[in-house]
């Protein structure tokens, strides 16, 4: 495994987006993972639609039938991948633009820009997470966002942080050590793409510590899924 790795350096990460005041983080996490997988499969970065999932994906959790994707009221990335397998794929942002509100489904199968081949769940093992990241591209992850409302920059590594997950984001890379602005303390970290616009965090990104002595900080290792896209010429 390389000491540092960042898919932004290899073109597999689309632009930072903004979910607005809508609980659709799950669709941004899922679309970001498919954008990366589709780039690896086709060599082309296509910016994909979240609104199609907000409007059309009401897929339910196979082990919890009362928990279904519900647009601005929340969802789950693996439910979204299941939906995309069944729907045939995802339209581009251009063809199905984001409104930030729940709407009627306007999915047009003839406009599919990317399709899911399969998806899988990565165990709570930071080496396995790093290996899947390097091999399959950016990963859809859950996290506890308690410290993110006030986060401005640096490597977040709270002494105390809950592990119940309430936000879906995209893991795009990792660093061996990052100097924290306030204290010159080196901490290996994950690089996370958020969906709150570029005027939040570090140009829309968040860094959280990783490593054996701070494993699964804020639950970051505990809901990780990877998706592969169908190869189209």
């Amino acid at each position: 495994l390389p000491d540092d790795f960042d898919w932004r350096d290899h073109g597999a990460v689309g632009p930072v987006k903004n979910q607005g005041s809508c609980g659709s983080c799950w669709s941004f996490s899922a679309s970001g993972a498919l954008e990366g997988a589709n780039y690896l499969a086709t060599g082309e970065m296509k910016v994909l639609s979240e609104q199609q999932m907000v409007d059309c994906d009401h897929e339910c959790d196979p082990s919890e039938h009362d928990s279904c994707d519900a647009g601005c009221n929340g969802g789950l990335m693996t439910n979204a991948f299941s939906y995309l397998l069944k729907s045939g794929g995802l339209e581009s942002e251009k063809d199905y633009p984001y409104t930030g509100r729940d709407g009627a489904c306007k999915f047009d199968k003839s406009k599919i820009a990317a399709s899911v081949q399969n998806f899988s769940v990565v165990s709570i093992d930071e080496d396995q997470i790093a290996a899947n990241l390097v091999k399959h591209g950016p990963l859809a992850i859950g996290i506890n966002a308690a410290y993110m409302q006030t986060y401005i920059g640096g490597v977040s590594c709270p002494y105390i942080c809950g592990r119940h997950l309430d936000h879906g984001v995209l893991l795009v890379g990792y660093g061996a050590a990052g100097f924290a602005p306030i204290r010159l303390k080196e901490k290996p970290y994950w690089i996370i793409k958020n969906s709150w616009g570029e005027n939040w965090g570090e140009h829309g990104y968040y860094k959280i510590c990783r490593g054996s002595n701070v494993r699964n900080k804020c639950g970051v290792d505990s809901m990780v899924s990877t998706v592969t896209a169908i190869h189209t010429s």
């Binding site: 609980g23 799950w26 789950l76 966002a145 986060y151 401005i152 997950l165 309430d166 879906g168």
Partner: protein, 114 residues
């Protein structure tokens, strides 16, 4: 040197400093993020939420010294409003683990040495 794990997280006299400067910080926050409020009551309410979030950012800074915490575009929202509006993950890890045998399958173990 290692951080002392037990830290004083409730401010002392810098509460007064924070109180004094909160209105100034709030004015620059409103301008910087283009905020507008319905009426004077709403403005006053958002100022009080903002003050509470300044204290919260200070606590976060003490509990998370390797990051920088402070005023963000969400500083006029209570934690509950923030969670309800800008997050959106419906599940906890517990139900996620149960799914491992469902439609989502385990990723094969990948080699990580060499």
């Amino acid at each position: 040197e290692e951080e002392p794990l037990i830290r004083q997280v409730v401010g002392g006299d810098d509460d007064n400093e924070l109180e004094l400067n909160a209105e100034r910080h709030f004015a620059s926050f409103v301008q910087r993020f283009g905020k507008s409020y319905r009426d004077a009551d709403e403005h006053a309410h958002r100022l009080s939420v903002f003050k509470a979030n300044l204290r919260r950012a200070r606590r976060h800074q003490l509990l998370d010294p390797s990051a920088v915490h402070g005023v963000t575009k969400f500083s006029d929202l209570t934690p509950a409003e923030f969670r309800a509006t800008y997050l959106g993950l419906r599940k906890t890890r517990r139900s996620f683990l149960r799914e491992l045998g469902g439609s989502a399958q385990d990723a094969p173990v990948l080699p990580t040495d060499g």
